[in-house]
């Protein structure tokens, strides 16, 4: 499996601090990105529907406990034009797609902000929980 952890250093080189503001002032969504998990990472998956809310890309959880969490992307991922979705690891995700991604869910906003490339999460994108994406698994169970 291609690890985002191994991509992180490369991502850091090519990602500018202003990346967190991609889409600001345009039709594209805000696109917060984290600094990656250097040669390591959480061993979990997240699942749900990719949705856009107030210009923020969210993961709408599947199942009875409806919840939307702000998605925070690896440094090598980029938003598609016109905010139609995201691409990374050679895969495109479109709004409305049901997705199963490598990543973890966190509630500690301060800790999440510390891991961001660029400024803190914009107020319109604040949620109770945040999902840090690590990869698009090729062989999810």
């Amino acid at each position: 499996m291609m690890r985002i952890g191994s991509l992180a250093p490369l991502g850091l080189l090519v990602t500018l601090a202003g990346c967190n503001l991609i889409g600001a002032g345009s039709a594209s969504p805000t696109f917060p990105q984290h600094r990656g998990f250097f040669l390591s990472g959480p061993a979990s998956l997240v699942q749900g529907k990719l949705v856009l809310e107030s210009g923020c890309l969210m993961l709408e959880s599947a199942g009875p406990a409806y919840e939307r969490t702000l998605l925070i992307w690896p440094p090598s991922y980029t938003p598609l034009e016109d905010g139609a979705g995201v691409q990374g690891d050679g895969i495109e995700l479109l709004l409305g797609d049901e997705v199963l991604l490598g990543g973890g869910e966190y509630s500690d906003e301060a800790w999440v902000n510390e891991r961001l490339i660029g400024p803190p999460i914009q107020s319109e994108c604040l949620t109770r929980l945040y999902t840090l994406i690590t990869s698009m698994p090729e062989d999810a169970p």
Binding site: S40, S44, A65, G104, D108
Partner: protein
Amino acid sequence: MLRGLIPLALMFLSVSATSALPIGARDAVEESATATSDDIAIYATHHRISRSVAESELAELPRIAAMQTWLSTNSSETFGGIWISHDPTFQVNVALVGKQPGHAARLATELGIKAKVQQVVVEKSYTQLLALADDLRERRQIIDHVIRIDVRNNQVVVHALSPSSYIARADGQAAQLAGAAIEKAPMIGGPTVGIYAGLYASTCTLGWTVRKNNTTTDGITTAAHCPNTQTYLNTALPFQAAANGSADTQWHTTPGFTDEPRFKANSAGESRVVTSITPYLSVIVGQTICKYGQATGYGCGEVEEKEADAHWVPNQTGRYISLKRCNTDLSTEADSGGPVFFNLSAFGIVSGWQFGGLLCKDELVFASVSYMQSDLNVTVKLP
């Protein structure tokens, strides 16, 4: 078997819904279905009666069904239901609202019912019970209970997984106010299903079953960075609490499941009973420890370090343990939360992975059961 016969008898009924006593129905039901000989034998054996008595009782069923139909159609405001009892002998019980002396007996005579008929005075009509049950079903907020009508005791009964949780909600309060009996149901929808470490929830592997300290509340763990929304067999596992720091653990209650002190130990589904825990301080660098995760399955490695840098955990303290076996991929996405063990002892749960070095596969990083217990105020369930 008897339950199977009654609908069959009803199929052959032809009772006109008039206010007059259903004399015509008497002839109609005489020609009704006859139970097969096998059914009669089973009926006789079950009720410990002779075959001839069984045939006599079964022959009554169409007439009893006719009385039920007539009462529910023509006396819906006062009809509380009919049931057959067998102890000590075959008897037809007719529930009626208010005192109507001899009404059931007269009706039974008109219909040719020879069995003993007992008239029972009740407060609520069957129509009222049905209306209450329908109302409570419409109010249902969560599918964690079933609503039943107990015609024998003239009441609506709610069988809830957790009566206290049900009563705390608006739907439960409505049931309580309406006088429904609210009872604990050990399991809804089938036999008890066990839940234990190594099984797979929505997006992570389940860890050790635990009990909240100083309570009788049981549940199951997974990693804290796993989504709070987790399900097992399409049943939601309500999130309780999470701890980061040294624990990277959260726990969920498991309504409808039995929390078992065991863990899945290989992909063939074999499990072991967990009989002890091994605390952080007892772990030794170089010792062999095993794990089970949904993605990578069963595997073992040697303790590489006890101060792994699990920086994907908020406020982590560097008290994580890593396992390494150069040719074995010990951890990847979907493994988080899975049990880490050796023989029958619990060591911790999977947290993440880290680079295993050049030409080696990734190491597994796990949180010790010590921190899981102390930080979540729970205790791993043992037999």
